[in-house]
Symmetry: C2
Subunit: 196 residues, 2 copies
């Protein structure tokens, strides 16, 4: 059942084309929920409805699978244009807050940080796939404002991005919750601090 086989090339039984996606999805979910060390391949196999060798035929190790799973995520942020710089920043940050509060949104960050010493590829990929995009989006908004002459001279855009994004991490670390209106408060302070 379910053999949309794509590559009908060589002889032999073709691979289940859907298995790959199911495995990656299960791996990503378990990675986020349980962390890298607790994520077991037996668990992934069971959740994906395949057996372990089916996994090992596609990826050579647990680390290989985990990085492949991380590679599949991508911030697909709908870039909102509200008309004002402060509005754009707030909208982008509200998106960010939603993704953090998704189940295990912060646990995934935790596990890639905790594994920095042991499996540094995870942190590297996380940066490349998620962190970089998010920062680039905010940086884009700020650069536009800068070109439009809205900002004071000499203000550090990198510092501003770190302030805005980081405040959510700090808030979560302190209480696991983010109050409504939080993004607006942040933008209010930072914007006043860097605008002309």
């Amino acid at each position: 059942m379910a053999s949309e086989k794509i590559a009908g090339r060589g002889p032999g039984r073709p691979r289940d084309g859907e298995a790959e996606a199911r495995i990656l999805q299960a791996a990503l979910r378990l990675l986020a929920e349980q962390g890298y060390t607790r994520m077991s391949l037996d668990g992934v196999a069971e959740e994906a409805g395949v057996s372990k060798p089916t996994i090992y035929r596609r990826w050579s190790s647990k680390a290989d699978l985990a990085t492949a799973a991380l590679r599949t995520i991508q911030t697909s942020e709908p870039v909102v244009a509200t008309g004002t710089t402060a509005g754009d920043l707030t909208a982008a940050l509200q998106n960010f807050a939603r993704s953090l509060l998704r189940p295990n949104g912060m646990s995934l960050i935790g596990t890639v940080l905790a594994e920095e010493g042991h499996t540094p590829e995870l942190l590297a990929l996380f940066r490349e796939r998620l962190v970089a995009n998010r920062r680039a989006q905010l940086l884009g908004i700020l650069r536009r404002a800068q070109r439009g002459g809205e900002l004071r001279a000499g203000v550090s855009l990198d510092a501003a991005v770190n302030l805005l994004v980081g405040a959510f991490y700090a808030r979560y670390l302190a209480s696991s919750t983010i109050p409504p209106g939080f993004a607006r408060e942040l933008v209010e302070v930072v914007w006043r601090g860097m605008a002309k």
Copy 2:
């Protein structure tokens, strides 16, 4: 040798008073370096120079030991008074940066976040012992400024604390490094954003 015995109560051989400290120290180091799941009691025993039963005589489980180890840390921040609010904030944040860049400073944060679903006591203790103190220190500086009439009305001190502290997390998550002058840049933006 080495029997500073503290509790000379009942009969019997007294406990090695130094073993306790050695065990906790080893546990904390391994917890930060390897994360909770990778920290093994065999490893702790070896590093502390004791046997496993000696550990289990004092703590009932791995989680019990790990939380006891976390309980031993305490931010002993020397509160600096530079004369200006911005100066005090910058000094406090520079202290903070130093502690983050200590070996495995961020890994420890990572592991308590990653374990939130499985061993929530770790995150709870981390908040109580480290996060809360750090935030209280910054909040103290800001409140003093507020009483002194330096701040605009209606500005959220909580938001400011999150901005300042969080920027370091964001920066580390993006690149594992913190450039010199970072704290000053942050304070510059935030202070201008909230001062009268």
